[in-house]
């Protein structure tokens, strides 16, 4: 990688190294470790944190009112019985997928560029899953009773949850996903926490990092078991991440509702999840690398690769939209045909066509290297993709429900201000957690980035004579 020293101009971005030249073990460690160890909190951090925290307080307010008043404060009602709660749930869960994809699937494929972005992509996953969990838990209205309805625990009548229901599958899939993501993240953090312990100056930080690093000392035996464990975790997270959004799509696909009852849903949902997840990673990485001057570790190569993954998954999602329309026509079923026609021309046509123009139209910009190398433009594109994927769930859920089989049951859905406050509140929760993460946790995996350096290489056995 050292021979790519000159690869700075945008035209040769493909050759950009995954780590800028001139680094050694110490400079890598210092660049990352000094951020959480700094005594002074940057002003920009304080400013951003306050905005995020204010939104989080909005979430408190919205959920407090929900518990006191009941779920009637939300706008969903027959025929649109599922609305913002499930739209936002699916949106957040989807965003979470990029973290596991980067840390697990790209590890199995030995993609070195994943190393410097995996830590914060995994953090993003955990925080996104936490935001997602808010919706199914609170839509029960009485979350302290939800354990009876969600977890395999019989109620007072001895009745168990319905194991044949996709909603229960979802509980298993999402809670497994949350647990495994946290475990994977923490296992990845331990050697870096040991570095923090060894570099901290204040006794308090030394103690905290000391306890969290569990006494890690980096012995050959430790590392051997560690590497085996990481590989196993990556290996089992790969089928996990693919199964999670598949199971989420079963919530829809297993029903008999036109617009939901489609076999394309599992792969189409998984592609959409990765698409929105990479958009969120880009939306976070672009400002962070500039704010913390991490351009040496998150190079244009990373940005370019992520944009390409976004393009590829975006095209799969686009294929999904085309197939939905095709199925509606080819099914020869009047309800299916009406549904897709209504989606395109009915009262929610604006949402469908906005979705198509973002996720099929705008994403084509990523074919051009000039766009992939233009950080400002790419940042805007990634925000639009996040918006587009939110809109996709809105279209799938609301337009499929609002025209019931009988015209007498037709209706419209309008979110209330509590719906909106809950949604923006979860964005506040996500950003608050992310700001805390940036301030207190090394956000790039130091030990993995060190292994990218030439001095980490050992000469092969048969040349090793002295």
């Amino acid at each position: 990688m050292a021979n790519n020293v000159h690869a700075q101009s945008t035209a040769t971005a493909v050759l950009d190294p995954v780590i800028a030249p001139g680094h050694d073990f110490e400079t890598v460690t210092e660049a990352v470790a000094q951020i959480p160890l700094a005594r002074r909190t940057p002003l920009g951090w304080v400013f951003g944190f306050l905005i995020a925290f204010a939104l989080l307080m909005g979430l408190q307010l919205a959920l407090g009112n929900l518990l006191l008043t009941g779920i009637g404060i939300w706008g969903n009602n027959v025929p649109v019985g599922w609305a913002f709660d499930i739209i936002n749930f699916v949106w957040w869960i989807g965003i979470g997928h990029a973290g596991t994809l980067i840390s697990a699937i790209l590890l199995l494929f030995k993609q070195q560029w994943r190393m410097s972005i995996s830590r914060f992509a995994e953090a993003m996953t955990i925080f996104a899953v936490a935001c997602a969990a808010i919706f199914p838990i609170f839509h029960t209205g009485r979350p302290w009773l939800a354990a009876y309805w969600l977890f395999p625990y019989p109620n007072t009548m001895g009745l168990w949850p319905q194991f044949r229901s996709p909603l229960i599958w979802d509980v298993f899939a999402v809670s497994t996903y949350a647990t495994v993501s946290v475990v994977f993240w923490y296992v990845g953090l331990v050697p870096d926490l040991a570095t923090m312990r060894d570099r901290a100056i204040s006794t308090f930080k030394k103690r905290v990092f000391g306890v969290l690093s569990l006494g890690w000392r980096g012995s050959a035996r430790h590392w051997h078991r560690y590497e085996v464990a990481s590989l196993i975790l990556a290996g089992i997270s790969t089928p996990l991440v693919l199964s999670v959004h598949t199971v989420v799509s079963f919530d829809f696909a297993v029903s008999v509702l036109p617009g939901w009852h489609a076999t394309i849903f599992p792969p189409y949902f998984v592609a959409g999840a990765i698409y929105s997840g990479f958009a969120m990673v880009l939306s976070l990485a672009i400002p962070i690398r500039a704010a913390y001057r991490l351009e040496d570790f998150i190079t244009m190569r990373h940005i370019d690769n992520m944009a390409k993954v976004m393009l590829a998954t975006g095209l799969m999602v686009g294929y999904g939209y085309v197939m939905e329309a095709f199925f509606g026509w080819y099914s020869a079923n009047q309800y299916e045909r009406f549904m897709i026609w209504n989606r395109m021309t009915g009262p929610y046509a604006w949402s469908y066509w906005t979705l198509i123009s973002v996720n099929i139209g705008m994403v084509q910009l990523l074919w051009f290297q000039a766009v992939r190398q233009n950080l400002k433009l790419l940042f805007v594109v990634s925000l639009f993709v996040n918006f587009g994927m939110w809109l996709e769930r809105f279209v799938i859920i609301v337009t499929s429900l609002h025209r019931d089989f009988l015209p007498s049951s037709w209706g419209m859905y309008y979110p209330t201000r509590w719906d909106l406050l809950t949604y923006f509140g979860t964005i506040g929760l996500f950003l608050t957690l992310f700001f805390l993460f940036m301030r207190f946790v090394p956000m790039i995996s130091m030990f993995e980035v060190r292994t990218l350096l030439p001095q980490a290489k050992v000469k092969p056995e048969h040349h090793g004579g002295h």
């Binding site: 050694d24 073990f25 110490e26 460690t29 395999p152 019989p154 001895g158 009745l159 168990w160 194991f163 044949r164 599958w169 298993f172 497994t176 647990t179 495994v180 475990v183 994977f184 050697p191 040991a194 570095t195 060894d198 570099r199 306890v211 569990l214 006494g215 890690w216 000392r217 980096g218 012995s219 050959a220 035996r221 430790h222 590392w223 051997h224 078991r225 560690y226 590497e227 085996v228 464990a229 196993i232 975790l233 089992i236 997270s237 089928p239 996990l240 199964s243 199971v247 079963f250 030990f447 060190r450 292994t451 001095q455 980490a456 290489k457 050992v458 000469k459 056995e461 090793g464 002295h466």
Partner: protein
């Protein structure tokens, strides 16, 4: 401090500091060739070769994880089968009680959950973590083992261990410094 009378002073071993991963690997190879058996290498990055050179055997973590995963699968399937077909069989539209196809999904998720927890907890447990105290931390320079320095410790209970000779041996391997490790 530890220079006087090594046999009375509790000594964990002798630690050599190296500047590069290559020097550590070469040093470990020569220590093994010289006949030392109780030693450990410490590095800020995973170095696959070191385990093969020093410990020569692979961990049984993979087998443990497989067993954890199978336990998870059996738990998931057993729980659903027992609850739906034995404990509270409920007739919903004449469908069978033991609908195994539907039970596959929670069983699959529990397989993954149990394997992941076994892999992570097993790794920490086999490594003896959490471990609040270890003698290597008594050496001040060892704080660099998590940043950019490499260490080889020959332990005092090695049959070949001799304080003076082992120190000299490590110095000859190109160590940047050799330190006594208090137990």
């Amino acid at each position: 401090m530890a220079h006087a009378a090594p046999h009375e002073n509790p000594l964990y071993g002798v630690m050599a500091e190296f500047d590069s991963v290559q020097a550590l690997v070469d040093g470990s190879k020569r220590a093994v060739a010289a006949g030392f058996t109780r030693m450990e290498a410490y590095s800020p990055i995973p170095v696959e070769e070191l385990n093969d050179i020093i410990h020569k055997k692979r961990t049984k973590l993979s087998t443990l994880t497989l067993m954890g995963g199978l336990t998870g699968m059996a738990t998931g399937f057993g729980l659903q089968y027992w609850a739906s077909a034995i404990e509270y069989p409920m007739n919903v539209g004449g469908r069978p009680y033991a609908t195994w196809t539907a039970f596959v999904i929670p069983s699959y998720e529990l397989t993954i959950l149990f394997s992941a927890l076994t892999a992570a907890i097993g790794m920490f447990a086999l490594n003896g973590l959490p471990q609040p105290y270890h003698p290597v931390f008594n050496v001040e320079r060892f704080s660099m083992a998590s940043s950019d320095k490499f260490f080889l410790v020959i332990e005092a209970h090695d049959p070949m261990f001799d304080h003076g000779a082992t120190t000299r041996f490590l110095q000859e391997q190109g160590a940047k410094g050799v330190y006594d490790v208090a137990a």
